[in-house]
Amino acid sequence: MAGKIFAVLVVLVTLATAYCVIAHVWWMPIDISLHGPKIDQQLEETMWVAGLLFIAGQIVLAAFVFLYGGAKSRTKQIPGGAKYLVIFAFAIVGLEVLGLSVVGSKAWGAVYFEAPDPNSLHIDVQAGQFAYYFRYPGPDGTFGALHPELISEANQNYFGLDIDHDADAKDDIVTAEIAIPVNKPILLTLHSKDVGHSFDVRELRVQQDFVPGLVIPIHFTATQTGRFEIVCTQLCGLGHYNMKAYLNVLSQADYEEWLKKQAAMQ
C-alpha cells in the first residue's frame, strides 16, 4: 500500500511540475536584447534535455516502487546488470552534457567573448549601498578621472569627480536612472564604491556583479523601447532588497532630448 501511495505521489508531483513548466505559469519576461534569444534558446534546449530526464527518472522510480512491493521468495537483477546502466549514463547523459557544453559555450561566447562594438555608447555605472549612479561622458566624449576620496553623498559628488581641476570631468553627466537609445550598442563599465552589488536586468538577459576594486565591462544592444527594472542581486547589506533603478530604452530622438535635459540639471 505504502509503495502504491508513494508511486502515485511521485507521478502527481512530476505532472504538476511539468504542467507549470509547459504552461509557463512562472516564466521569463520578454526578451529585449540582441543576444537574449541565444540565451533563451539555450534555456529552452536545456529544459527539454533536463525535463525528459526528470520525467523519466521519476516515472521509472514510481513504476518500480509500484510493481515490486510485497514479498516474493526470490529476487532478480535487471538483465545485463549495471553494465547497461553505466553505458547509458556515459552514452546518453554524456552526449547530452557534451552537446550542452558545445552549444552552451557558443551562446556564452557570442555574448562574452566578443569585443564591444567600437561605436558603442559608453556609460559608466557606479554602485554603492543602496543606489546606482550612471555617468555619461558629456560633449567631450571623455570621462573625468575618479577620486574615491572626493566621493560625497552630501555634496552629490557620487563618483568622486574633481570638477574644479579636471576638464574631462566638468561636462560628465551623472544620473540616477539610465536611458539608452534603442538598437544602439551599449558598453557599460561597472564599478562599486563599497561592497559587491549586481546589475541585473531580466529583460536584457544581463546579470553582472560589481566587484569593488575592479572595473567590469559589459555590452549589449536593446531592441525594444520601454522602462525596465535594474535590480541588485548580490547581497550588499540591509537595503539590498530595495536597491534598484530603471533602464529607459528610448528612441534616438527621445534619448537625445533626455540627455540634454539631464545635462541642464547638472
Partner: protein, 588 residues
C-alpha cells in the same frame, strides 16, 4: 591494503562515572549520539529561523513576539527589520549547512557506526574524537551567541562575501562582533572536521577486523571514508580563509579588501586585497562542501536499501563506490560555477562549466543504481526505506536544476534567483535531510535499544515528502521569473505579483515544520518508552547488527569477528550476516 588482524582488543577501559561516560566521553558511540543530538537541536533552531523568515516574506508586518524579545533592535515590537531578516537568513544557512547537514550524517552516524561496521572497538584516536565534538560544540555556541550580542548576528549570508563581511561595522548593522564570532565559529568547525576526517580515514584503513577487505566494507563506511578525504582537503582551505577574514576585520590586514572603498563618504584605510580571492577560496571549499553533505547520504541510502529491497544493489559495491569516488574527485574542479557572473574571466567560465556538466555522469550512475536495484525486488516499506525512496526522488529533482546552473549562459539569467535556492534545497538540503531521517529510523534501534513507532514514522514521512515538494518546487519554479533571492520584502515591480506563491510556500513550510514535531515526539517517547529492540530488527547483514542493541562499550563484548563476505547477501526472505562462514546466497 591488507586487512589487519590483531586490533580487536579493547584499547581503552570502560568509562567510569557520569562525566566520563556521557559528557567528556571518548566512546565513539556516545560521541556519535552527542553529534546527532547537537545536529537535532541545530536543525530545530535553523527551522524556526526559516519560519520567521517565511512569515516575514508573506506578511511583512506580522508580529512575531518571540523575535521582539530575542532582539529588541532587530525586531522592534516583534516586526522584523530588513537587516534582521538577513541576519536570520545568514544564521539559517550557517547552522543548517555546517552544524546539521555536515555534522549529522557524517560525524553523527559515522562516529557511531563506522568503527562497528569495520569490526573495531573504537575510533583510531578516541581522544581526538572527543576533541572534535567539543570543538564543534564551542563553535556552535559561538554561532548561537551572535543572537545575544547587541549588534546581532552577521547579515552577509552563509557565504560571507568580502568586502561586506570584511570591512566591519562601517558596512552597516550586523557587521560588528557577530561577523567576528561567525568567522571564529566556522574556523573551529573546520578544525573539528579536520580532526574528525583524520580519525575516519585512519580507522577505516587500520582498524578493520579480520576478513574485512575494502571490497567487503559496508557501503555507508565507504561513503564516510571517501567523504573524509574530501573533507580533509576542503576544510583545510576554509580554515585559513576564515582566519584571514577575521584578520581583515580585527588586525587591519587587507587580504580581501581592495583600496579606494568609501563608506558614508569616508575613504577606508585598506588597500590591495581581492574580493574575488575570497570567493575563490570560499567556493574551493564551498562546492566540495555540498558533496561533503551529500556523499554520506549516498552511503546511508546505499547501505539501507538492500536490507529493505531484499537484494544487492545492481553493480554490487563497485559501481556505486566508484561513482562516489568520481563525484568526490570532480567536486574539486567545479567551484567556479558559483562565479559565472562574478567578474571572473568569461573564459574561466567554460573551464568550470564543462566538469560541472560532466559530474552529472557519476551522479546519474548512482541514481540509476538505486532506481534499477528496485527492479525485481521484494520491497518492504518500512520508514527507513520510504525515506530512502524520498531521497532518490528529491535528488533527481534537485539534480535536474543543476543542468541550468552549470552553464554560464543560462546561469547568467538564473543566478541569485529563487531557482537556485529551490535547487540547492532539493539537492543538498532536503535530500541530505531525508537520508539523515532514513538513517535515524534505521539505526535508532541500534543506538538506543528501542524501536521507533512505525505508524508515526510513516505519517512523518508522508507529510514531509508532500511538504517539501510544495515549498521547494514552487520556490524553484518561481525563480524562472527572475525572482531574486535574499530579499527581505517583495518590492520590485515584477516580484509583487509573486506574493500569493510566496504565501503558499510559507503556509506549506509551517505545515512541513509542524510535521517535524511528530518526529520529535516519536524520537523522545520511543527513546524511553519504545518497545525493546532486538539485535537485528531489520534482518540486515552488516556488523552493527551482529551485536546487542545498544552495543556494549567495546562493541562486540570481546568477540573477535571474522568477516567472510560482503554486506549485500540478500535474496528475498533470506539473508546472511557478514560473519556467517558459509554463505548460501550468491550475493556480492
Amino acid at each position: 591494503m591488507a586487512e589487519t588482524t590483531a586490533h580487536a582488543a579493547v584499547h581503552h577501559a570502560p568509562p567510569q562515572g557520569f562525566i566520563r561516560k556521557y559528557i567528556f566521553s571518548i566512546d565513539h558511540k556516545v560521541i556519535g549520539i552527542q553529534y546527532t543530538t547537537l545536529s537535532l537541536v541545530a536543525a530545530f533552531i535553523g527551522m524556526v529561523l526559516s519560519w520567521a523568515m517565511r512569515i516575514h516574506l508573506a506578511w511583512p508586518n506580522a508580529h512575531i513576539p518571540i523575535l521582539g524579545w530575542l532582539s529588541p533592535n532587530g525586531a522592534p515590537g516583534g516586526v522584523m527589520t530588513p537587516e534582521y531578516y538577513l541576519s536570520l537568513m545568514t544564521m539559517h544557512g550557517t547552522i543548517m549547512a555546517f552544524f546539521v547537514l555536515t555534522a549529522a550524517p557524517m560525524a553523527g552516524y559515522g562516529n557511531f557506526m563506522l568503527p562497528i561496521q569495520v569490526g573495531a572497538a573504537d575510533m583510531a584516536f578516541p581522544r581526538l574524537n572527543m576533541a572534535s565534538f567539543w570543538v564543534t560544540f564551542i563553535g556552535f555556541l559561538l554561532a548561537c551567541a551572535t543572537f545575544f550580542i547587541p549588534d546581532g548576528p552577521p547579515l552577509s549570508g552563509w557565504t560571507a562575501y568580502a568586502p561586506l563581511s570584511a570591512v566591519g561595522s562601517v558596512a552597516g548593522p550586523g557587521q560588528g562582533w557577530g561577523q567576528n564570532l561567525w568567522g571564529l565559529s566556522i574556523a573551529l568547525f573546520c578544525v573539528a572536521s579536520l580532526l574528525g576526517s583524520l580519525n575516519f580515514i585512519v580507522t577505516t584503513l587500520d582498524l578493520r577486523t579480520k576478513g574485512m577487505k575494502l571490497s567487503r566494507m559496508a557501503l555507508s563506511t565507504w561513503a564516510w571514508f571517501i567523504n573524509a578525504w574530501v573533507s580533509l582537503l576542503a576544510f583545510a582551505v576554509l580554515l585559513p580563509t576564515c582566519l584571514l577574514l577575521v584578520l581583515d576585520r580585527l588586525a587591519g590586514t587587507s587580504f580581501f579588501i581592495p583600496g579606494g572603498l568609501v563608506f558614508n563618504d569616508q575613504l577606508q584605510p585598506h588597500s590591495g586585497g581581492s574580493p574575488l580571492l575570497f570567493q575563490h577560496l570560499f567556493w574551493f571549499f564551498g562546492h566540495p562542501e555540498v558533496y561533503i553533505i551529500i556523499l554520506p547520504a549516498f552511503g546511508i541510502v546505499s547501505h539501507i536499501m538492500p536490507t529493505f529491497i531484499r537484494k544487492p544493489l545492481v553493480g554490487g559495491w563497485k559501481v556505486i563506490t566508484f561513482a562516489e569516488i568520481a563525484v568526490g574527485t570532480l567536486s574539486f574542479v567545479v567551484w567556479g560555477h558559483h562565479m559565472f557572473v562574478s567578474g571572473m574571466s568569461p573564459y574561466m567560465a567554460m573551464v568550470f562549466s564543462v566538469p560541472t556538466l560532466f559530474i552529472t555522469i557519476p551522479s546519474v550512475i548512482a541514481v540509476l543504481v538505486w532506481v534499477f536495484s528496485l527492479y525485481g525486488a521484494n520491497i518492504r516499506f518500512d520508514t527507513p526505506l520510504l525515506y530512502s525512496l524520498g531521497f532518490i526522488s528529491l535528488f533527481i529533482t534537485g539534480g535536474i536544476g543543476g543542468f541550468f546552473l552549470a552553464q554560464p549562459s543560462t546561469d547568467s539569467y538564473l543566478h541569485a534567483t529563487s531557482f537556485v535556492v529551490g535547487h540547492f534545497h532539493f539537492t543538498m538540503g532536503l535530500s541530505a535531510i531525508f537520508a539523515t531521517f532514513a538513517g535515524f529510523y534505521y539505526w535508532f534501534p541500534k543506538m538506543f535499544g528501542r524501536m521507533l513507532n512505525e505508524k508515526l514514522g510513516k505519517l512523518h514521512f508522508w507529510l514531509s515528502f508532500i511538504g517539501v515538494y510544495c515549498v521547494f518546487i514552487t520556490m524553484q519554479l518561481t525563480g524562472m521569473t527572475g525572482a531574486v533571492r535574499r530579499y527581505s520584502a517583495l518590492v520590485d515591480d515584477f516580484m509583487v505579483p509573486l506574493l500569493p506563491a510566496y504565501r503558499f510556500m510559507t503556509i506549506a513550510a509551517l505545515l512541513l515544520g509542524a510535521a517535524q514535531l511528530i518526529f520529535l515526539y516519536n524520537a523522545i517517547w520511543s527513546r524511553f518508552k519504545g518497545p525493546k529492540a532486538p539485535d537485528n530488527p531489520w534482518g540486515a547483514t552488516t556488523l552493527e547488527w551482529d551485536t546487542t542493541s545498544p552495543p556494549p562499550f567495546d562493541n562486540f563484548g570481546g568477540r573477535q569477528l571474522i568477516v567472510y563476505h560482503g554486506p549485500m547477501q540478500y535474496d528475498g526472505e533470506k539473508s546472511e550476516m557478514q560473519t556467517s562462514p558459509a554463505p548460501s546466497i550468491a550475493g556480492t
